[in-house]
């Protein structure tokens, strides 16, 4: 496993599957009376949030606490002029206190990569977890989305996922495409031409996903998709001329009730997802959000389990599991080599 989790592309298929499998165990812990595991005892995790967040920050904090790490939240509004410099000072000051992990959310794309670079240059051993950087990436969101899908669908290889909405500004979409392709799912992304990121064409070609401007054609022309993921439209951006009126957006790209009904006729097990917070009546109708197909609350509930699993894999152990190495160590306890084989096999 990598030391930093900066991008969903940092994860190999095996890494991702190990995190998803671990999250299943963590999810069980979440239902217990005593929600505490000793695996991160004595570790310190700092949540450094320069952007507002409720669910991501609180779920990282709960995840750290349930794993017995000491978690501390720091929120800062990025200053305008000397933002870069102050960020560097901030993280170097915090890591000088011998912390083990920095969970960072920042408004600037690439901020987490930059921080990881600074730490590596300074020889600081802390891990950096990207909790959302600008319009770039949000890898733990992609992991919890994949987890929610695997809970319902099993292996994602060959499954079809349609992601719809404001692709230009969506870090959720970027991380999701990267991870879903790693896991072998077929991905189609749908947006009005004005919300298609520039330069997405070559990326789609390299990573093998499909682009579309027509939601109805994507949903109904071929076999029905397994998952439809709606992205949030940020109302504040509507003045930017990305689309004429909210109404027009809904007609073209919203998951309305008739659309969902037609979809469910073709595939009654279709999953409706949304990273939240939702604009009911804009990108998703209330009926779709509350329908039997919706797994939106499952996504929220998976958040803590996935973050526990991610912290565990980044902070615990000396590296990726390898056959042979584990056997020997394992034998110094009262295990047989066979059990070790099995636990690795489960990964």
């Amino acid at each position: 496993m990598v030391r930093h989790l900066l991008s969903a592309a940092d994860l190999t298929r095996d890494d991702a599957l190990a995190i998803l499998e671990t999250a299943r165990s963590m999810h069980d812990v979440q239902r217990r009376e005593v929600k505490k595991l000793p695996a991160l005892r004595g570790r310190t995790v700092i949540n450094l949030f320069f952007e507002d967040s409720t669910r991501t920050r609180s779920s990282f904090e709960i995840a750290g606490k349930w794993m017995s790490a000491d978690t501390i939240n720091i929120t800062g509004k990025g200053s305008s002029a000397s933002k870069g410099e102050s960020l560097r000072d901030t993280v170097l000051t915090i890591t000088a206190m011998a912390v083990d992990a920095l969970v960072i959310r920042h408004g600037a794309s690439g901020a987490c990569h930059q921080v990881a670079e600074w730490l590596d240059e300074a020889g600081v051993g802390a891990s950096v977890l990207n909790a959302g950087d600008g319009t770039h990436e949000h890898p733990t969101q992609a992991l919890l989305d994949a987890y929610t899908m695997t809970q319902r669908l099993g292996d994602l290889a060959g499954r079809t996922v349609v992601i719809v909405g404001d692709l230009t500004h969506s870090r959720v979409f970027r991380s999701n495409v990267l991870l879903l392709r790693t896991l072998g799912a077929d991905v189609t992304v749908v947006a009005p031409p004005t919300l298609m990121p520039s330069g997405i064409g070559p990326w789609a070609e390299t990573d093998g996903f499909t682009l579309s401007n027509d939601l109805d054609e994507t949903l109904y022309a071929g076999p029905a998709p397994d998952v439809v993921m709606m992205l949030r439209v940020q109302r504040e951006r509507m003045s930017g001329g990305f689309f004429p009126t909210p109404r027009e957006y809904t007609v073209g790209y919203g998951l309305t009730r008739p659309r969902l009904d037609r979809l469910r006729t073709a595939n009654e097990n279709v999953l409706v997802m949304h990273p939240g917070p939702m604009n009911r009546g804009l990108e998703i109708s209330a009926e779709a959000a509350d329908s039997l197909s919706s797994v939106i609350l499952d996504q929220v509930s998976a958040g803590v389990a996935i973050r526990m699993a991610a912290l565990y894999h980044l902070l615990v152990g000396t590296g990726p599991s390898q056959e042979g190495v584990g056997d020997e160590k394992r034998d110094t306890t009262d295990a047989t080599a066979g059990r070790n084989d099995e636990s690795e096999g489960a990964a």
């Binding site: 496993m1 190990a18 499998e21 671990t22 299943r24 165990s25 069980d28 217990r32 009376e33 005593v34 505490k36 595991l37 000793p38 695996a39 565990y312 894999h313 615990v316 152990g317 000396t318 590296g319 990726p320 599991s321 390898q322 056959e323 042979g324 190495v325 584990g326 056997d327 020997e328 160590k329 394992r330 034998d331 110094t332 306890t333 009262d334 295990a335 047989t336 080599a337 066979g338 059990r339 084989d341 099995e342 636990s343 690795e344 096999g345 489960a346 990964a347």
Partner: protein, 205 residues
């Protein structure tokens, strides 16, 4: 995806490193069956019946053994004893010094463990550290009335003040030796316990 039996077997005997010729079978299918039958009787005897019993296997072969014991107990008493699994990965004391392991699932019977007599089941008892981890894991799940330990093989070399209540076979071993348990259900090969010399590759003690 779980490895196939063939893969497990291949991993156990890496190419170019055949099992030590001195490796010998110490328990065969009949001996193992007899040992388990005796353990089942012992459990019932010390508990004065099957009431409030729960069998928790430590993954992965401990779980297989726990199911075997439950069947044997059902044969004797006609009572279904709940069986579960207790993963200890996250409670191990050597997490830091080893490659990251993916935890396996813990499954506790619906009755819970409060006020029950929990019998932990494992294949091999060695340093006692796995059992220590299991006791910690169990403490987070509730407060059993009593916890007992049943193992197929006790190979000695304890590093903690822990002993088993029910032992299939005491096997005196050297640290350099390796105890290999294979179960039909689990490994697709005949039930066997074998002592071999330590693996010939990479370090180890």
């Amino acid at each position: 995806m779980p490895p196939t039996d063939r893969e497990l077997h291949d991993r156990e005997v890496p190419q170019g490193h055949p099992l030590d010729p001195a490796g010998r079978v110490v328990l065969g299918p009949e001996e193992i069956a007899r040992a388990l039958r005796r353990i089942a009787h012992e459990i019932l005897e010390s508990n004065k019946g099957a009431e409030d019993l729960i069998l928790l296997g430590i993954p992965s072969r401990g779980v297989t053994l726990a199911h075997r014991l439950a069947e044997l107990i059902a044969d004797v008493e006609g009572t279904e004893v709940p069986v579960g699994s207790l993963d200890i990965t996250l409670h191990r004391d050597d997490l830091r010094d080893n490659p990251t392991r993916t935890p396996m699932r813990t499954r506790i019977p619906a009755t819970g463990v409060d006020d029950k007599v929990v019998v932990l089941v494992d294949d091999v008892l060695y340093s006692g550290r796995s059992v220590r981890a299991a006791l910690d894991a169990l403490a987070d799940l509730g407060r059993p009335r009593a916890v007992r330990l049943a193992v197929l093989v006790d190979r000695g070399h304890r590093e903690l003040p822990i002993r088993a209540d029910h032992v299939g076979k005491n096997l005196p071993t050297a640290h350099t030796e390796k105890v290999q348990v294979r179960l039909q259900v689990h490994d697709g090969v005949e039930d066997t316990v074998r002592i071999a010399h330590g693996q010939t590759h990479v370090g180890g003690r």
